[in-house]
């Protein structure tokens, strides 16, 4: 039973859950993910692991309620259970002493970035973190990231926190001020990862990105999560989810993520309707 132990609202539609998953908690490494189902007729969705406590047998998931499944998850409360949790899946992040590591987090992408930054710090790297979000209340884990970073910069599109602008502005400023960066890790919305990767390529900074394609089984069977990296087809669930950002075909990834946009919209509207007429327990977050 994957009982939800605690639930905390981190921002509008962004919720942090601590969930029982002892095997995952004992085995997970930074960069890995789980696949969950909320209910018996639910779909399988991949979620990154933000943290874990092997002794307590719990993992931390940070989820933005965007589609039907994540919104149904937002209706669950401590004591409720997730129907299924399987993992940890994917290859762990390659952690080593690079020197100076730039950690770039966009929106909810900061959740999986946090354990990676911490492990990079423990490997005695100098950590420069740049966090970006549209607006202040969409920034998450700023304090946690600060605790594992030597330097931390924040950008928001509207200037409500940190510097007004986007993460690439902050990275450019850093490099222009003469900072040398040995390795970058970027996790966030695909478009943000694409632009960050274009910039770091221009600046000659090796960059890893964690990809979030559509998945079904997550164990190397269905091939739904295929991505193009360096001209070859790779499967994010077993070959990734992290890849050399400069080799990723971002446009194909972004396009394929839109495969079910119509179905997702219809499902979300149906859920709204069910909630309004009281046929669905709880209220949407």
């Amino acid at each position: 039973m994957n009982i939800i132990r605690t639930k905390e609202q981190l921002g509008p539609n962004v919720t942090k859950y601590v969930v029982d998953a002892p095997l995952v908690a004992a085995h997970r490494k930074p960069g890995q993910f789980v696949i969950i189902r909320v209910s018996d007729r639910g779909e399988r969705i991949p979620l990154t692991i933000a943290d874990a406590d092997a002794e307590m047998g719990t993992i931390t998931l940070i989820v933005q309620a965007v589609g039907k499944t994540t919104r149904e998850m937002a209706m669950l409360n401590p004591g409720d259970s997730l129907h299924d949790v399987v993992g940890p899946l994917g290859k762990p992040t390659h952690i080593q002493r690079f020197g100076t590591v730039l950690c770039v987090g966009g929106g909810i992408g900061t959740a999986p970035l946090y354990p990676i930054a911490r492990a990079m710090k423990e490997a005695r790297n100098h950590i420069i973190t740049v966090l970006g979000a549209r607006t202040q209340n969409l920034l998450i884990l700023e304090d946690e990231m600060r605790s594992v970073s030597d330097e931390l910069y924040v950008t928001t599109d509207d200037g409500s926190r940190g510097t007004k602008g986007v993460v690439t502005d902050a990275i450019r400023t850093l490099v222009q001020s003469g900072r040398h960066i040995d390795q970058a890790v970027v996790i966030g919305p695909p478009l943000m990862m694409k632009f960050t990767s274009m910039l770091t390529k221009e600046l000659g900074i090796p960059t890893m990105a964690s990809l979030n394609p559509i998945m079904v089984d997550g164990t190397g069977m269905c091939g739904g999560c295929r991505v193009v990296v360096g001209g070859d087809v790779k499967f994010a669930c077993v070959d990734g989810p992290e890849f050399d950002a400069h080799e990723v075909d971002w446009d194909t990834l972004i396009r394929r993520l839109g495969t079910y946009r119509n179905a997702e919209q219809a499902a979300a509207e149906q859920l709204d309707h069910m909630c309004r007429i009281g046929l669905h327990g709880g209220t949407p977050a």
Binding site: H27, G87, R226, V238, R255, G258
Partner: protein, 474 residues
């Protein structure tokens, strides 16, 4: 009854759902024999002394004996005979390629010089298995005392279920680890409901549970538990982790929106019930669906597409009807349902619009040349003859490699160039002592019964291995 009289009885036709009706539902197509039909079909068996049919069965079911029980109207005796050697008769009766195995060898078919005239062994097997399930007659055999030995089975597909059942019956404590949220492996995610109702798989798993087998779902060995942890906690390990990454054609356009691997398409439909409006898992319901490939998985994909509401479904295969590896029965069912077969056409490009969605494909007309390594005539392009086929969903059904997870997680495990685990043919033991493997993880992409045959061999060898390592009864 004399043999001459038996030979004169024509094969009994199993009733089926009408094609026009069945493409609008996912219920099973062949409806099963009545008792009278089964008894008549059983009368066609000559009970040959040399039993060529048994020779053709990968698990050696004592076929003439169970058929005799059907003829005598003793279903309980019949199913008991089958279950001595075949743990999953309701599954095998439906999905085994009997026409290439037991029925191919049948003397009745041989004397008519037509394999379709053979005794319908598979259908009789299904009859008995269904009788047992419908009458809740499954008997749990008296189990020997516990041996105290623990066996881990990785994967709950046909190979894993066979190993689990065989070893549980010998008194070993068996735990089956399944990566997905449901048991059955390919029986659950791959083979469609209309060919193998999932309640049958569930019933088989429930039976194994009654034998004491423990199932752990959502557990990926190599990830949720390391292979070493499993090896330390169990006295022997069987790897039946099955099919892995699907093959693609490596032609332009395979990453367009609307292009699926058959594994993904069928998993969405079967495991995730995407055909059901109540399911949260989406699937693209194409109007014009092109399925690439000519095997059973291609047939399953094409027939699934019809049931998802496609107006036109095409199977595009680069060789001719004769070389097509799909079972004749599946091919016939697909044809009856209106699937269009385009033989001797090789897809060379998948076409898409500016929005990234698939719009069709370009196919190259082929002709057959000399036989190739597979013994089938090699398809060769006819210069200058290409054409475009419109499609809004394309399903690539050209096979898959073995699953990569366990080989990646167990250093020292010997694999072949395709990633299949190398095993001793007689014992299914791998290069790692105490670790055995069978099914698609060894074979690549094979059949349910071959996986079960390997499972049976492995179970025998595991039992011998455990017995040689300390006190084991049974």
């Amino acid at each position: 009854m004399t043999n001459a009289e038996r030979l004169r009885i024509p094969p009994v036709a199993m009733p089926e759902q009408e094609p026009a009706e069945r493409i609008h539902n996912v219920r099973e197509v062949p409806l099963g024999f009545t008792r009278e039909m089964a008894m008549t079909e059983a009368q066609r068996c000559l009970h040959c002394a040399n039993q060529p049919c048994v020779e053709g069965c990968p698990v050696g079911v004592r076929i003439p004996e169970f058929i005799k029980a059907v003829e005598a109207g003793d279903e309980a005796a019949g199913i008991a005979i089958i279950k001595e050697t075949n743990l999953l008769p309701a599954v095998c009766g439906r999905v085994c390629p009997q026409e290439e195995q037991c029925q191919e060898n049948c003397t009745v078919g041989r004397s008519h010089r037509d394999v379709s005239q053979a005794v319908q062994i598979g259908k009789l097997e299904r009859y008995l298995a269904d009788w047992e399930r419908e009458h809740h007659a499954a008997v749990v055999p008296k189990l020997p005392p516990a041996t105290g030995k623990r066996v881990a089975v990785i994967g709950s597909g046909p190979a894993g279920l066979t190993v689990a059942g065989d070893l549980a019956k010998l008194g070993h404590a068996v735990t089956v680890f399944e990566a997905l949220h449901k048991p059955g492996g390919v029986l659950a995610y791959g083979i469609p409901e209309f060919r193998l109702p999932k309640e049958i798989v569930d019933a088989e798993v429930a039976y194994l549970t009654r034998l004491g087998v423990n199932f752990q779902y959502n557990t990926v060995i190599g990830k949720s538990l390391t292979v070493d942890e499993v090896r330390h906690s169990y006295d022997a390990v069987f790897i039946g982790s099955g099919a892995g990454l699907p093959n693609f054609l490596h032609i332009p356009g395979e990453n367009l929106l609307g292009v699926y691997s058959a594994n993904e398409y069928l998993t969405r439909a079967n495991l995730m019930h995407a055909y059901d409006e109540d399911s949260d898992t989406p699937i693209l319901r194409g109007k014009s669906v092109a399925v690439l490939g000519g095997g059973n998985v291609a047939m399953d994909s094409a027939r699934t597409a019809l049931r998802l509401g496609a107006h036109r479904v095409m199977v595009i295969y680069r060789r001719s009807e004769q070389e097509m590896p799909a079972r004749k029965e599946e091919y016939q069912h697909a044809t009856q349902e209106g699937v269009e077969f385009r033989f001797l056409e090789n897809p060379v490009e998948i076409l898409g619009g500016t929005d990234g969605w698939v719009t069709g494909l370009t196919v190259q007309k082929m002709q057959l040349g000399e036989p190739d390594a597979s013994g089938r005539r090699r398809p060769l392009p006819i210069a200058g003859q290409t054409s475009n086929v419109p499609a809004d969903v394309v399903v690539v059904a050209i096979g898959n490699n073995p699953n990569p997870l366990i080989p990646a997680a167990l250093p020292g495990l010997q694999v072949n160039q395709h990633g299949g685990i190398v095993t001793n043919e007689d014992t299914m033991e791998t290069s790692v002592p105490g670790v055995y493997a069978g099914g698609d993880i060894v074979l690549g992409a094979a059949t349910v019964i071959l996986a079960m045959g390997q499972g049976r061999k492995a179970a025998r060898a595991i039992h011998a291995y455990l017995s040689s390592r300390g006190r084991v009864s049974g």
